[in-house]
């Protein structure tokens, strides 16, 4: 066996080992904002956090067929799905509300439960939204469906209302995924009075952290 015949192979192998050592460098997600909801209890503050477990995916959304809501909900699902790199969330629109995990309807939220957000928009005054999450008696299990309400404040055909409905739907769907708090930054979709139509890098980083944090809430079977 002539060692010179092996030379090209050995050079390539050596080079490849040297070149293939380093790993990709993950980005900092330090821009993420607080997404958990802190509630006061008799024994002190309680931190509520949630994300849909893999076994419950895809999350089933039902949208009332009015005010372009099915389109807005599908766009919201698409935006939130695109926020994740590793399949943490998938959603789908369903026709039957009785099997839905999240129900999106027009109108003003009629009841309490744990109202994660009751959006009173100042910067985008054309519409408002709210997400109601009902907990069981223990306070640590969500009783689906989560109910999302989006409501136009003016004539739905008025300028800006449809765009407001779209971004508010995306905001409320964000709550239904487990982002229970608002961003302090107006450039984020999860700002209390959202004015942007797209998720920001902070929104994505927050959603990623929320979906990889051990939740304190579980979802009851539907």
């Amino acid at each position: 066996m002539n060692p010179r015949r092996w030379l090209p192979l050995l050079c390539l192998a050596g080079g490849s080992v040297l070149l293939s050592c380093a790993d990709i460098a993950a980005p900092s997600r330090s821009g993420a904002y607080e997404w958990r909801r802190i509630v006061a209890t008799a024994s002190g503050p309680d931190t509520l956090s949630f994300h849909w477990p893999q076994a419950r995916l895809p999350v089933r959304f039902w949208a009332e067929d009015t005010l372009n809501l099915p389109v807005h909900v599908q766009q919201a699902i698409d935006q939130w799905q695109a926020a994740f790199l590793y399949g943490e969330f998938r959603g789908e629109l369903v026709a039957d509300s009785s099997i839905a995990d999240v129900i999106v309807a027009s109108g003003i939220a009629p009841k309490g439960g744990l109202s994660v957000t009751r959006l009173e928009s100042l910067m985008a005054p054309e519409c408002q939204g709210a997400t109601d999450i009902e907990l069981d008696a223990s306070g640590h299990q969500i009783l689906p469906p989560i109910r999302v309400y989006v409501d136009p404040r003016f004539d739905p055909a008025a300028p800006g209302v449809d765009a407001c409905m779209a971004l508010t739907t995306t905001h409320e769907v964000g709550h239904s995924l487990g982002i229970f708090a608002h961003s302090p930054n107006a450039e984020d979709i999860m700002f209390a009075d959202p004015v942007v139509a797209e998720l920001s890098p902070r929104d994505r980083a927050t959603a990623e952290l929320a979906s990889h944090t051990e939740p304190t809430l579980t979802a009851a079977p539907r």
Partner: protein, 199 residues
Amino acid sequence: MRAPLTLLLTLAAGATALEAQVDYSARLGVTWATALVRDDIINEIEVRQKLAPTLVLGVALPIAPLYRAGLELALATSGYQSNEEGGTTVDLGTLRTGTITLGLDGPVSHGLRWRAGVGLLRYLPAEDQGIFLRGGTTRFLAGAGIDYRRPIMTKWDLMASLHYDFHRFTTDELEARGFSQSQGVQRIGVSIGLARGHR
């Protein structure tokens, strides 16, 4: 009229002689790869392609008494998944790869030949989502391997191949998300098939 005819006959004779020296091979096998991405969100996460059935087609021409230059096309398809430290595994869909490699091979000893080459590797996800949200990616690749051939008929050889290659992986989506550098990915493939050519 005789000159063009002579040229045509000469070219035809040359092509026939060339064809007689061309070596073809077709093999089936599997490819194993190291992680495509490593991330850290609360826990460590890695994305990895599953063991991929692979079809390899090759053609080679002699360039020296002992050496051949060749072109090889490999197609592999499998699922890919994310694994989070602590046990959560998520199937992310189907991922196909197409590789084209230009290489050299030469003798080692009885029936054994080394091979080395460079080429391009294209990742073709079934769906544009997750790390492939902005589509697949094409990467430069370098590899090497060992082939074993054993004659089984007049012109046909049984061919077994062990192959190693590496490339550096990233995607447009990962770069847009702020991932820097790229991930060194090493792949090992084994395949078996038939080769036809001159001896």
